[in-house]
Symmetry: C2
Subunit: 367 residues, 2 copies
């Protein structure tokens, strides 16, 4: 029996997508091969990657002057590729500058990695408030080479209420847990990146959407595979890409388009999140620590109201265990954060959210 | 209907493995989830990666002082990671040295990438003979920090007849198209790497086997994700790994063990290759350009004996087209090489090789 999977990533995929993949697994599109067996340069696979890119461009309304790249290595590799491509310099040249906004633990890590290659200014941080809100940001520095923020903070459950205006300074965002959860104006950004394993498909593919004028800036000492131009020049076929992951993303995008695209997803996601936040507002035993204006629609973090840390931990453990027994899995908070967390990505049906709310209510009665 | 797929990679997988994957795709091991949906740190996924590593250690007899890493980015990323981890230095320090043997186009590219970070000596090359043989190698330089060769050259169809002796200089090899095709003495190497998409599983996972004393040597400026110690310290779970690829590798390794392991594979692969080379020896219209002592068991390159280049190209095109119509696909040589190539990895049954031989004989009669 299928469970409701509230994992923060890798995470739930639409059942119909998995069923289609199963059906085609030994013979896709009448080729007599699995997509896992297809030569990446063959007439069998090339239409698959082209279709995936075309669906994404369509659904996200990606302007023509942006490249779409299917890479590997996750957001963590982008933490290095962004500064290596947009800020790093040849040996001996003066270092360039970038501003990072510290809205959570991944934002901190991306800034730390960038500081190896560029002079990083932390423009604002909400670390002093345990990241319970997106910090207010000062005016941007026009001398920066780029400006980086994490759109949705998976771990702490926050989301930027609006996109900062950085004038001509390229805006870069990690949208791993935000992508396709609602409409996004790509034209406001210089570069967007996302690990696939939340709203796009299985882990192992990293999506990069980059404005063409930002491609080709990496100094020569940067590894060939970490230069955007390597992949942009070959339509993500410079070397063997994660073919099956790209195929799965294509199936997810087809499903998403059938569902009504990013607009419909945004509506549905707001509805799902509002139900769950309302349940927490009413709850005598749980609460959301996140300020209302910064609340994520994708990752809903909550804690027992209990103030004794040991009792609190007991309640959390019991909650996670009993929920799993009821078919609601992966509700523990991130290991660095504690508490509880329900990730309700696009593929989580509203029935899953309602089942969780019912469970919370029943659990409270047992306390 | 399934075809016989002679692709050099991504390439054929055992049908029983694909069928098992299909069966489990919406609910693996009674978890109610697809492996594609599992949190990588969950009690559902961790046993999968552990089992995959343990099977590999068992089948390859990997000594306990070697780490097994499941990474991303393909062999191309290793072309940079090897020098960045085994040879690169902090800014201003004197550069270290490595010897590369140029036995084919990938070997050349790996040496070019390494030259960004270390002083590379090309110890020997068979470029002047169009790579039709593995070059004879001079005694190793004891001052080198490592020595690199490509064990099986996918593109030109050669294989090293024996492992060079480099004393205490760490021996590094790209075994992407060699791994598990026959037994290998891992203890002779400092580091081995392989893209998964030939004998291991689908594209998107890169296997690294590295002796523990070689981990942790990268200078601090190397991107976190490109340092072996990052992944070695966290058993390949530093960030989200390509979970589904690792699961598929596990299924392939189970199949391989059932077949009798690396020894049985080696016997079967020799048998398959000998049949095909014998067919080419007898053929009046085709021939293998590769010297007998250097012939690959995995990638069998052949050319028409026709000397007129245009007629030759015509024959190749007709061969590829008619073979595909007969259910024998991906027989064109690499785009940089031309000619024809049959890649007959572990998962290619002997029936596929016999079908190809029959086709060659029939095709010749039609010439």
């Amino acid at each position: 029996m299928r469970v409701f999977n509230f994992s923060a990533g890798p995470s739930v995929l639409p059942l119909s997508v998995l069923e289609k993949a199963a059906k085609e697994i030994t013979d896709a599109n009448g080729t007599g091969q699995s997509v896992m067996e297809m030569s990446h340069r063959s007439k069998d696979f090339v239409p698959i990657i082209e279709k995936t890119e075309s669906l994404l461009r369509d659904i996200m309304k990606i302007p023509a002057n942006y490249k779409v790249l299917f890479l590997q290595g996750g957001a963590w590799t982008q933490f290095a590729m962004v500064p290596l491509n947009l800020g790093a310099v040849e040996f001996g040249a003066p270092r360039k500058k970038a501003t990072y906004i510290d809205s959570g633990i991944w934002a901190t890590k991306s800034a730390e990695e960038a500081a190896k290659y560029v002079d990083v200014t932390i423009g604002a941080s909400s670390a002093d408030r345990s990241y319970r809100a997106i910090p207010a940001v000062p005016p941007h520095n026009p001398n920066d080479d780029y400006y980086h923020f994490v759109y949705n903070n998976t771990l702490v459950g926050t989301k930027w209420p609006s996109i900062p205006d950085t004038g001509s300074v390229p805006l870069v965002s990690d949208i791993s847990s935000f992508i396709l959860s609602e409409p996004l104006d790509v034209s406001k950004f210089g570069l967007l990146y996302a690990g696939a394993q939340k709203n796009l498909g299985p882990a192992g593919t990293t999506l990069v959407i980059v404005r063409e004028d930002l491609v080709g800036r990496a100094p020569s000492w940067v590894p060939t595979m970490l230069q955007y131009k390597t992949h942009a020049a070959e339509a993500s076929l410079f070397n063997t890409p994660p073919c099956y992951g790209i195929y799965m993303i294509g199936l997810v995008l087809e499903w998403l388009q059938e569902q009504g695209g990013a607009e419909a997803m945004g509506q549905r996601n707001r509805e799902k999140a509002e139900l769950l936040y309302a349940c927490l507002e009413e709850s005598k035993f749980f609460h959301s620590p996140v300020e209302k204006s910064s609340r994520s629609l994708m990752n809903i973090v909550f804690f027992p109201r209990e103030s004794d840390p040991e009792k609190c931990k007991d309640i959390e453990n019991r909650f996670v265990k009993e929920a799993a027994a009821a078919g609601l899995v992966n509700l523990a908070g991130h290991r660095l954060m504690g508490g509880l967390r329900a990730s309700i990505y696009n593929a989580m049906p509203i029935e899953g959210v309602k089942a969780l709310i019912d469970f919370i209510k029943k659990f409270e009665l047992s306390l």
